[in-house]
Amino acid sequence: MNIIVCIKQVPDTEQLQKVKVDPQTNTLVREGVPGIINPFDENAIEEALRLKEKKGGKVTVLSMGPSQAAESLRKALAMGVDEAVLLSDRLFAGSDTLATSYTLAMAIKRIEPFDLILLGKQAIDGDTAQVGPGLAEWLNLPQITYARKIEVNEDKIRVERALEDVFEVVESPLPVVVTVTKDINEPRYPSLRGLIRAKAEQISIWTAEDLPLDKRRIGLEGSPTQVVKVFIPKPPRKGDILSGEISQVVDKLILEIEKRSIIQ
């Protein structure tokens, strides 16, 4: 099975003291902030590796981002993927989800053939969950979102989708684009061997010149949505510390919740 996993490097929110915003493009400045693989994309990589272990084949991981994103691709290599491709070009900067899914789609056309494309359901910085379906549309492929279980039999894929209150079991012929949830698996740690091997491996870097692109569809120019302002939301007002003897504090707490009509 040839599987392509699209991943994104996102800021490690644990390290994020202050968010930096580029005043010109109103997009997030990613340089200098330690990055991690988007957690849901780690699940996608893991799922791809498991499918490869069962069915044989190859796993290619693809990411669009600044040069720093190569770190995440290296971690994916350490986990065991076969090949890594970074799409990096100043021209890609400022892409919204339409431009991003377009760029990824054009890169995937260069990576063909493939049986399956996996992505995490959303990135924890953008939180849009739009690139997966957008990518499927550009490639004219079926899409299956919110997968919590994947089974591949011959050339068909069976997926359990996690909806709000029910799980939907669907089936589709390959190839198809699938976005995965966290429940689908537990991503593996890279092994020491993997880490060492990945350090020496080559990551292909493709620029806008390397792809069959319509330059007007990429980057800021290819993005219908524009961010006009980014601001830090007012933190919820810090409240009170209730102190005193436990029994009294409990009474006070119950009183407060009653006052706010949360309980009768």
Binding site: R188, Y189, P190, L192, L195, K199
Partner: protein, 379 residues
């Protein structure tokens, strides 16, 4: 003297730290309370290739240095002393194989150990032979094409879960240390069984088991080194093992220190956090200083081992010092946590119970002092 870590070491240690804190630390309390062997942790160590760190590549390992192994072991032990000791005891099996094994023996026994498919153990201690290693009673009788073992071992770490055992026997009790002979034994060998599981003060999830040999048939290919050369095998294995045990003690000390430091900042008495009181500050300062001292003794011992230089003296010093530091630091940690420290709601009482073992195993502190004195008086 360059004390910095290489990029590779940093990369590896970052991963070990992540796994140790995310997995081993979370389970440490529970496995201790239940006395449950941490199978999940061992599986993770194997998946990460950690069992193969010091084993050469041609035998399925990563061919790295003992210093890196020591740093890895420190992080594991800090998260979970039990897992650290199981990991460390494995070295007591792989090390003698590497130093004394024939090419055939290495090819046969090292690869599964490197992959974590088999765990290793080292068996010398007997009811009548603790510090007095030469008083081993388990007898090995030479036959046509094999040896027959009769006797028993006690307190063996990794007993029963391990597959590969280095067993120290004697071929002639009257010769004392000079009669000792080492063998490689595999679980499942006829006549090799397991007996008592010892209930301990702490580290209840660590397997410490009685081994029983009753007309146990050991193939002659499994003789390690030469007949009656087992004392040397034991002593050299202990020398390396001391670094492992020392670093395990250091890990426990570090965990206890972190806990005490954190608590002292939170705990308010007399209107201020107790970390603002000089008594507590001085205690914390002592703890931190002793930990740093133990650290570099052990790191240097490992470095000397890697350089092929004599390392036994420093290994003994490191083990002696680190284990005594661990006992002191954990006891002080309980003291700092006061009444709460004495309860099972906090881990420090467990650390204190765990620390005690490190002053005993792998050569008691008394033995270590003897070894050190011996070395320094010869210099």
């Amino acid at each position: 003297m360059d004390f910095s870590l290489s990029d590779d070491q940093k990369m590896i240690l970052e991963l070990v730290e992540e796994v140790s804190q995310a997995e081993f630390a979370l389970r440490a309390d529970e496995i201790s309370k239940k006395g449950e062997f941490p199978g999940e942790n061992i599986k993770k160590l194997a998946e990460l290739d950690l069992f193969g760190v010091t084993i050469p590549k041609e035998y399925g390992g990563l061919g790295m240095d003992y210093l890196t192994w020591t740093l890895i072991s420190e992080k594991i032990s800090k998260a979970c002393a039990t897992t650290g000791l199981i990991f460390g005891a494995n070295l007591l099996c792989t090390y003698p194989l590497l130093v004394f094994g024939t090419e055939d023996q290495k090819r046969k026994f090292l690869p599964p150990l490197a992959r974590g498919k088999a765990l290793g153990a080292f068996a010398l201690t007997e009811p009548e032979a603790g510090s007095d290693a030469g008083n081993v009673q388990t007898i090995a009788k030479k036959e046509e094409d094999h040896y027959t073992l009769n006797g028993s071992k006690i307190f063996i770490t990794n007993g029963e879960v391990a597959h590969t055992y280095i067993v120290i026997t004697t071929m002639d009790r009257s010769l004392g240390p000079r009669g000792l002979t080492a063998f490689i034994l595999e679980k499942g060998t006829s006549g090799f069984s397991f007996g008592q599981h010892f209930e301990k003060m702490g580290l209840s999830a660590l397997p410490n088991v009685e081994l029983i040999f009753h007309d146990c048939r050991v193939p002659k290919e499994n003789l390690l080194s030469k007949e009656k050369r087992g004392f040397r095998v034991a002593m050299q294995t202990f020398a390396a093992g001391r670094i492992g045990v020392g670093i395990g003690a250091l890990g426990v000390a570090e965990a206890a220190f972190e806990e005490a430091k954190k608590y002292s900042k939170q705990r308010v008495q007399f209107g201020r956090s107790i970390s603002s009181f000089q008594a507590i500050q001085h205690t914390l300062a002592d703890m931190a200083t002793e930990i740093e001292g133990a650290k570099y003794l052990l790191y240097r011992a490992a470095w000397l081992l890697d350089q092929g230089k004599p390392f036994e003296k420093l290994a003994s010093m490191g083990k002696l010092y680190a284990s005594e530091v661990a006992m002191k630091v954990t006891t002080k940690a309980v003291q700092i946590l006061g009444g709460y420290g004495y309860t099972k709601d906090y881990p420090v009482e467990r650390y204190m119970r765990e620390a005690k073992l490190f002053e005993i195993i792998e050569g008691t502190s008394e033995i270590q002092r003897g070894v050190i004195a011996n070395k320094i008086l010869k210099e």
